[in-house]
Symmetry: C2
Subunit: 403 residues, 2 copies
């Protein structure tokens, strides 16, 4: 494989946020009047849900502090790591050593990248779930690993995420080196049961598989459901890292902040990747970590409640249309919508939604090649606009539905 | 090679900025009184040389703009790319297409990483200069390439950098795929002559070698010397990228900003790396690009003049000591000091400087294994403190000098 073939496998043109680069050629395939407020469902709207109070002041304080904040150790400034480790320890139910077991990263994407780059060598077999966050597959390809997908049968259960544990054990046995997954799952918003988490941890320990556990949305759990942090299980593998950051529920995405904590040796290697990747998470940005896990309690509760209310509206709108199916989001801001047979391709449906209705959704195929009848929306939006956009999407589905 | 062996080759513990993590064990080997203001020569001091006026206001404006600035295309927000491309075109003497030929990155380090990741496949032969920026070697190792160093005989010339062009042609002929180098050279501060630049461009075109030209310090040239941007030559290779950012002379390092411009296909691949590496250069940070190349003219002139004055003081102090040699810095803020034979190892010398005198320098071995008698300083510091620290370093050299 040469570099061109490798990058053809990566493919970024349909990734969320890249819609502006897709050009505006091709005709609109639908003559419905779908006008309304444009909604970009590819990511949350930080205008509708603004950043944690005090975040800009924290940044400003960092700038005023000058050199000490501009240049930090690559893994992050010591006092910020101390603070983050303490807060994460309390949230996760583990003890995170701030000197050895945590690193600050440019977003959780940066943390994921460093983790993957610290464990995958060319030819290594790397397992991930389908559907799951689209970047996992791309990371494996980029680092020359071999993709080993395992199915998440999320539509078959209500009390568990639905990971195929037998298939997982079988690929672990066959010599998988790394397993990465998100919980709550992206794009479906389902949560892993305690039994599933325990089984994954046990099997990873037994077969010496490195775990990368992406808990980006674990602070936004609905309906008071129980949530289990894998790192807090009695049995965990010798090599694992948990990834989390304040870019979602907390709306601090404009500052690009994330963390990873876990096995000291793995964190050391991640720091070596950071050293050549970007030296350090933006110096001044790091100062904003101080507001994380320090939000007014009511503020955080209210935010989760507001998202749960939008989720319920989405469920009402999509649920009323025959042929559309989904599993109700249990955590996070995503809704993964399965469509009936359409008279157009998924690609054309997505493009028409954007051009005719001003609505951006992410095609399901970003999350696994088999999701040719799905799209993902991030419903962290202005509630009224989101509802109208969902209704317009339903009208578009109806228009294109095969009869 | 497994992942542990690979990371042992990377080695970050002696990298600039990582001194805090080296621990304080071992005794101080010198009983001189070297007390004085601590100086961290491993990087510039943004307290001594503060960021471009208006940079914080530009950031604030980005935050106030909200979602449109928090989430941008991966390669950077269009209006910021438009602006940067226009300014870089004027500075470089080329035409940079903002839509196809430029990407905004988390620092020039991020730009370098994306460039290297977009051109190096495992087993590829990659050439770099010795001495040169320490990350080049690490990038090649990280991406599984084969290191092909070529010497810079910088002490032998005054009118050219001193790259061994014969050796370069010979390795290009032997099938090198990529050549990366910095101009002004880091760590020596020497500038490539027009003949050298033309030869590199010609040879890269002839042998189809991809060029990564790191011009991070090209706005800080001393003594009115001529400087030549390789991208503006008549003959350039089909695949090349130039890297530059506002983190040095402009002191915007706390915002982590850099750019790369060049061949459209290469920029496309870099964006695919960015997509999985960190999605985008920090959203709000991107807004700070607006002050770059828009500094008050006198401010920039004065800044370069101040650095030239500090360089001259460094030259006086180090030049007065027999046994110490160097070539006068022609651009940038680095001084590469060659020491006489010492009674201690370079490692112990560096550690003693830090512990006994509060002075941090970067060991020469970071820039090539043969530089066992060198250290690098970044003299973008408070002038008085830098002078005192240089004098203390000279006293330390004298103390350890082999007789």
């Amino acid at each position: 494989m040469d570099i061109y073939e490798k990058f053809q496998l990566l493919g970024v043109e349909n990734a969320p946020g890249q819609e502006l680069r897709q050009g505006e050629d091709g005709e609109v395939l639908c003559d419905l009047d779908l006008s309304g407020d444009p909604v970009d469902f590819s990511h949350g709207d930080v205008n509708a849900f603004p950043p944690v109070p005090g975040s800009f002041s924290a940044f400003k304080k960092g700038v005023l502090e000058g050199a000490a904040q501009a240049y930090t150790e690559y893994r992050g400034r010591k006092q910020i790591r101390d603070d983050a480790a303490e807060k994460l320890s309390a949230f996760m139910g583990v003890t995170v050593d701030p000197d050895r077991e945590i690193i600050l990263a440019p977003g959780t994407q940066g943390a994921l990248f460093m983790a993957a780059g610290s464990v995958i060598m060319p030819g290594d077999r790397v397992c991930f779930v389908q559907p799951d966050y689209f970047a996992y597959r791309k990371l494996v390809v980029f680092f020359g690993g071999v993709c080993v997908p395992v199915n998440l049968n999320y539509m078959q259960y209500a009390d568990r995420a639905g990971i195929d544990l037998k298939a997982l054990e079988s690929v672990f046995q066959s010599g998988v080196k790394v397993f990465m997954f998100s919980n709550p799952n992206n794009p479906t918003g389902v949560i892993y049961s305690h039994e599933e988490i325990r089984s994954i941890a046990d099997m990873a320990a037994r077969y010496q598989v490195t775990l990368i556990v992406d808990e980006l949305y674990s602070r936004q759990i609905f309906d008071g459901r129980p949530y289990f942090h894998l790192c807090a299980e009695d049995t965990v593998p010798d090599s694992m890292v948990t990834i989390i950051g304040p870019s979602k529920t907390e709306s601090l995405s404009g500052y690009r902040l994330g963390t990873a904590f876990g096995t000291a040796g793995l964190i050391d290697r991640m720091e070596e990747v950071q050293a050549i990747m970007d030296l350090r998470c933006g110096g001044y940005n790091q100062a904003v970590f101080s507001v994380w896990f320090d939000e007014p309690e009511e503020w955080m509760k209210e935010r989760v409640k507001q998202h749960q209310a939008i989720r319920d509206r989405m469920a009402d709108v999509f649920g009323a249309e025959e042929g559309i199916s989904f599993r109700l989001t249990e955590g996070g801001s995503y809704f993964f919508v399965e469509l009936p047979e359409l008279t157009v391709s998924l690609k054309d449906f997505v493009k028409t939604a954007r051009k005719a209705a001003g609505i951006t959704v992410t095609p399901g195929t970003e999350f696994g090649p088999q999701f040719t009848h799905h799209f993902r929306i991030n419903f962290s939006q202005d509630p009224k606009k989101a509802e109208s956009a969902a209704e317009r999407l339903v009208r578009l589905v109806r228009f294109f539905k095969k009869r």
